[in-house]
């Protein structure tokens, strides 16, 4: 429980930043970055990067992680680690589905 008091101005600034990032998300949805640059999957990479930035802003400022102690950071980190576990192991299924299957024929 950090007793840190955050000035209102910080909250408004972060809110503004989030709204700008939201607008950017909507904007790039209309652009076909994959074709324009020739890099496959660039659209999804950019969209997810913006989403991650937004998430970090919320966690750091609105949820006071920036001013919290190490224990809180461990728990915050653990939840990200768990998200990674979920995505990586699920992807392990999707990536290997097309591989050659065992057969007894």
């Amino acid at each position: 429980m950090s007793g840190h008091i955050v000035p209102k101005k910080t909250y408004y600034t972060i809110f503004l930043l989030l709204m700008i990032l939201l607008a950017v998300t909507v904007l790039i949805a209309y652009l076909d970055l994959d074709h324009a640059t020739g890099i496959g999957g660039l659209n999804i990479i950019v969209a997810l990067s913006i989403a991650f930035t937004k998430m970090m802003l919320v966690v750091m400022y609105f949820m006071h992680m920036k001013w919290s102690n190490k224990l809180t950071w461990i728990f915050g980190g653990a939840s990200i680690l768990w998200l990674v576990i979920m995505l990586v192991i699920t992807m392990a299924d999707y990536i290997s589905r097309g591989w050659v299957m065992f057969t007894n024929r």
Binding site: W82, I85, M86, I89, A92, D93, S96, F102
Partner: protein, 566 residues
């Protein structure tokens, strides 16, 4: 501390709650009568009162789930259809949803955990009493929504809500049920959050991590699973609703989705949810085994860390539910191997409990009967889990009664048994009164016999190939099904008996005093029932958990025997 430990040695070490009648008086001010009126209960911040609120509501839901279980068993008494298929689908779905989300998940954490965790660590209350009350209201609101879906027509998807049936085809109240489960999830998260913070921040002086009772360790591990897993089921239910109501393509291949993704997300929570059910049960058993064999739990730190290991490994095995769902064979192999790993910390616990019994001064009161039943039934439930984790064998037993028998051995044979054992063990603490030991033992015996008679035949049925979730079956399966239904009747009687004698004990039970079992632990050093803030003065902990002395207790017992007092 000192005065309390003298009390526990002067009363005979394993006195039954009834035996101390006349010696003790009921404390004048307890958490039960500190404030009066319905409002003082519904707006309470007292963790003990909230535990009682949970106890009542959970018992009601357990009874409702039991009614649906009876419907299923009556239907399966004969090969033909007594209920039509639609009705049967709704009955087993209702049974599953009620038992999993409204009984098994909150049972031990929200009742016993809520009541005991702060007392066991020497705190006045949980860290956030109002959040604790909020969690009960969320549970009731979610439960009411889900039940209302069942009243207006029910759900027919099974408790697993597999897509595409649940999103595209089912004509039942999937959305309303999902909304209820979504809300109940937050009840679980807030409870977990409260427990984690309380354990970190509110331990009494001297209550170091290595002195925590193993029940607290298991609650802590459970709370981590609740915190890290439950948000995923919430999101999954939201995605399900988004596709069902708004047609957003998540799980439907026609819209660019993948139905197996639902199973990944669902089991990412729902497999660890099994550990939400079993870990607190294991914590209860550690307490019971230590108290009734008068020994410190063998390998304390191994048992403590095996809880954390189960919590962590439990998150890496969900794909063993997807072996025949079109998941890649390579992912299947990895999930199969990881699933076997969970057996290690589980076996550590079972072996350590058994070793604790060795050279202990064992007595067979009702809670101990439940604890011993747990060890045997959990061994069967756990070992048949290895059958299911084996990739090749699982293809044969997937969606058969073998699976049903396996997970009922874990959920009923272990979790419900431990819950009942814990309720009996801590009943004198919660109410200040003892229950009739004879009826307690009789009901424990009936539950044990009834349970095995219900579910053991299902292992054979499943192995012979009887699939789950069908209302009719070939006539050659009838004998085993009759056995199973007969067992369910015995089980029902066993479950109903505690309702009567525990209610009876509220008024007529003998007054037990602070420590009827002569057990160790801070919860036995305060009055029964405890005052609102648990202790008159903050306790200072100076000894290890379970500082029992089996030899001294045995000597005291023999001496009492010679004097003709036992």
């Amino acid at each position: 501390m000192e005065t309390a430990s003298t009390i526990s040695t002067t009363t005979a070490p394993t006195t039954m709650p009834g035996a101390a009648n006349g010696v003790f008086e009921m404390p004048k001010v307890t958490y039960l009568n500190a404030q009066e009126g319905i409002k003082s209960w519904l707006l309470t911040g007292d963790h003990k009162r909230i535990a009682i609120l949970y106890l009542i509501s959970i018992s009601v839901f357990f009874a409702l789930g039991g009614v649906f279980a009876s419907l299923i068993r009556i239907e399966l008494l004969t090969p033909g259809p007594e209920l039509d298929a639609e009705m049967y689908n709704r009955a087993f779905t209702a049974h599953g949803i009620i038992m999993v989300f409204m009984f098994l998940i909150p049972a031990i954490p929200a009742v016993l955990g809520n009541f005991l965790l702060p007392i066991m660590i020497g705190a006045r209350d949980l860290a956030f009493p109002k959040v604790n009350l909020l969690s009960w209201y969320l549970y009731i609101i979610g439960g009411a929504l889900t039940m209302s879906a069942m009243v207006i027509g029910g759900v027919d998807t099974g408790w697993t809500f597999y897509t595409p049936y649940s999103t595209t085809y089912s004509q039942s109240y999937v959305f309303l049920t999902g909304l209820g489960i979504f809300i109940m999830g937050f009840s679980s998260i807030t409870t977990g959050l409260n427990f984690v913070i309380t354990t970190h921040k509110m331990r009494a002086p001297g209550m170091t991590w290595s002195r925590l009772p193993l029940f607290v360790w298991s609650q802590y591990a459970t709370s981590l699973v609740m915190l890290l897993g439950t948000p995923v089921i919430a999101i999954t239910v939201v995605l399900l609703a988004a596709e069902r109501v708004f047609g957003v393509g998540i799980f439907n291949p026609n819209l660019g989705g993948d139905p197996v993704l639902f199973q990944h997300l669902f089991w990412f929570y729902s497999h660890p949810a099994v550990y939400i059910m079993i870990l607190p049960a294991m914590g209860v058993i550690s307490e019971l085994i230590a108290a009734f064999s008068r020994r410190r739990v063998f390998g304390y730190s191994f048992v403590a860390f095996s809880s954390l290991a189960i919590a962590i490994f439990g998150f890496l095995v969900w794909g063993h539910h997807l072996f025949v769902s079109g998941q890649s064979a390579y992912a299947g192999i990895i999930f199969s191997i990881l699933s076997f790993i969970v057996a290690i910390p589980s076996a550590v616990k079972v072996f350590n409990w058994t070793t604790t019994l060795y050279k202990g001064s064992i007595s067979y009161e009702t809670p101990m009967l439940y604890a011993l039943a747990f060890i045997g039934l959990f061994a069967i439930g756990g070992l048949t889990g290895l059958f299911c984790a084996a990739l090749g064998l699982d293809v044969h037993i997937t969606d058969t009664y073998f699976i049903i028998a396996h997970f009922h051995y874990v959920m009923v044979g272990s979790t419900v048994i431990a819950y009942l054992g814990g309720i009996h063990y801590w009943w004198p603490k919660m109410t200040g009164r003892g229950y009739p030991e004879f009826w307690g033992k009789l009901s424990a015996l009936l539950i044990y016999v009834g349970f095995n008679l219900t579910f053991f035949p299902q292992f054979i049925l499943g192995y012979l190939g009887m699939p789950r979730r069908y209302h009719v079956y070939p006539p050659e399966y009838q004998v085993l099904n009759i056995l199973s239904t007969a067992g369910a009747s015995v089980l029902a009687v066993g479950f109903m008996m505690p309702v009567f004698y525990l209610l009876w004990s509220l008024k007529y039970g003998p007054i037990t005093g602070p420590n009827p079992w002569g057990a160790k632990g801070l919860e036995w050093e305060t009055a029964s029932p405890p005052p609102t803030f648990n202790f008159d003065a903050t306790p200072i902990v100076t000894e290890e958990a379970y500082a029992y002395d089996a030899e001294a207790d045995e000597a005291a017992y023999q001496a009492a025997l010679q004097q003709g007092k036992r």
